[in-house]
Structure formats: structure tokens, C-alpha cells
Symmetry: C2
Subunit: 135 residues, 2 copies
DNA sequence: ACCCTAATTTAGAATTATTCTAATTCCAGG
DNA sequence: CCTGGAATTAGAATAATTCTAAATTAGGGT
């Protein structure tokens, strides 16, 4: 809650638990839920707790190392924050896919003009039928 | 149950409950959670149940009458599906704002090319600091 | 009219998802 | 060593959502 956190007295960094969770997310092929992450992390750190998973995810999010996405159904999912990218979600089977479009500066500028937000990132979400469902 | 209701029955229709929920969403200024919708709907249909809210929201979503959005924190939110529009979310206070950019056909085409999805809609999400938080 | 059937609503239980609490551990500095 | 703060843990508590089973509704046939 305190603002302006300093680095006094041995500031905590990437603890083993946080590192394990980050590792799990980075090694995963797909977007994992917190409970999937918990199961995977527990295989390398058997004593890890659920709360630590959520705490660590929060920490890693704030550190910009992972990214949280959620799309209505079920639990939030997490992916490695490689770089800005976009998501496509199948309205039939719920499958999620990543893709990447170069978001033009003009697009960001236009969004900022409409919202007066100080921009951090702009993401696209494509809703539609995935290749498997489009038949 | 209430007596003397309309002409609903054994086929997929806009039942009084669904209509009430749609009304609530359409009359609301902001994006409501399911529990807020439940509270509001109950004021006009006191016997309505939580399950019906969720069932109706699902129905209305599939009918394209309402739209569900969720952004990691807390519950899903619902807004009237007026027309395609975009969302801005404040990374500091969580505030959600609507805006609208003309999504160019080229952008959709490019997204389709990358994902091979059959497109239904393309939404933009701007993350950043809202006017109140940007100081 | 009267029964049959299918869709829907209802109440509440059950299941998930996430956050909170309190006790404990770990580590760096004095 | 001792102390204090951050992190972890287990499990309880809360919140969000889905499920179940019984009751209700009305349309369509007979």
C-alpha cells in the first residue's frame, strides 16, 4: 500500500517460489489458469501454497513479467509477457490463440484522443470461429 | 409465481425474466456485474433467481443482445450490445470506459490472415491511466 | 378440453476462483 | 544473537458461477 517502495534493507526480489512460477509460465505452451500453475509449480516446489501462487502472479504482473487475460468464461489465464500481442477467441469452443499485429501509432493516438487516457498498451481482440469450428 | 403474465411458454423466446434483465442492462449507465443485475432485476421481478440471471445472460449473449466483458479483476460485466465498440481500462483504479474507433477493414483482414478465424468482431482494449489517475 | 412434452424458472446446494488471516519462516542489519 | 519486515504456508472465508431437481408454463396434438 505504501507508495514509493524503496530498496532499503535487502529488498526482496525474485524468490524461489516466484521464480518457479515464472518458469512454469514460460515453459508452458498454452495459457494456464492459476490452478494449473499451482499444480505445475507444486511438482518442483511441493510445499508451495495456493496463496503464494496468487501472490506471486500479482507480483509478476506488476513487475511486467507475466500478463493476465480473461474472457468471461472460467478463470483468468496467464501468459509470459514477451511483447505486446493480440488475442483471438473462438466464440464456439472458447479456444484462445495469440497473434500479433503491428498496432500503428495512429491507432494509439486515436484511442488516446477519444479516451484521454495515458496509454500503456493497446490490444486487439478478435472474436470469431476458429479454424476447427468454422466448418 | 406471478399471475397473469404474457405470452411466454414452451419455445425459445424473450421471457419476462429475460426481458427484465435486458431492460436493466439497457437502462444502466455503467457496466454491471451479475450480482448488480440480480439486485436490479429483483426490484421488478421479486421472485427472480440467481440462476435465471445467469441463464438469461447466457441467452441474451447468444442472441447478441448483450455483451460480456471481463478484465481479470472480479466478476464479469455486461453491457448492452449497441454496436461494436472498444474499451479502455485504467491500470491504476480499474475504471472502465467505452470508446469507439472505426476499425478499418484492413485491420480485420490482417487479423484474419494471421489467425485464420472466421471473424465476428474486432475489439480494441486500451490499457493505461485514466484522466483522474494520470496526474 | 386434456394430456404430453419441452423450455424455463426457482431455490438452494455444489463447485470454482480468489482473497484473507494468522502463524511461521527466512534473511539482512544492528 | 536479536529484531523487524517481507514472504510463505495452510486453511478459512468470500465471491462468482454452475449444477440439480422439482415445479411451472404454455404449445401442440389427440
Amino acid at each position: 500500500m505504501s507508495s514509493g517502495n524503496g530498496d532499503q534493507g535487502g529488498a526482496r526480489t525474485l524468490t524461489p517460489q516466484r521464480e518457479a512460477i515464472l518458469q512454469v509460465i514460460r515453459e508452458s505452451e498454452n495459457h494456464m489458469t492459476a490452478s494449473e500453475i499451482f499444480e505445475a509449480a507444486r511438482r518442483v516446489l511441493p510445499s508451495i501454497s495456493y496463496a503464494t501462487v496468487y501472490n506471486s502472479l500479482k507480483y509478476l504482473k506488476e513487475a511486467g513479467l507475466v500478463h493476465e487475460i480473461s474472457f468471461g468464461n472460467g478463470a483468468s489465464r496467464y501468459d509470459r509477457e514477451t511483447e505486446r500481442h493480440d488475442h483471438a477467441i473462438c466464440t464456439s469452443c472458447g479456444k484462445l490463440a495469440d497473434f500479433d499485429l503491428t498496432v500503428t501509432k495512429e491507432l494509439v493516438r486515436a484511442a488516446v484522443r477519444k479516451t484521454r487516457f495515458k496509454p500503456e498498451s493497446l490490444h486487439l481482440t478478435l472474436r470469431g470461429l476458429c479454424p476447427d469450428c468454422r466448418e
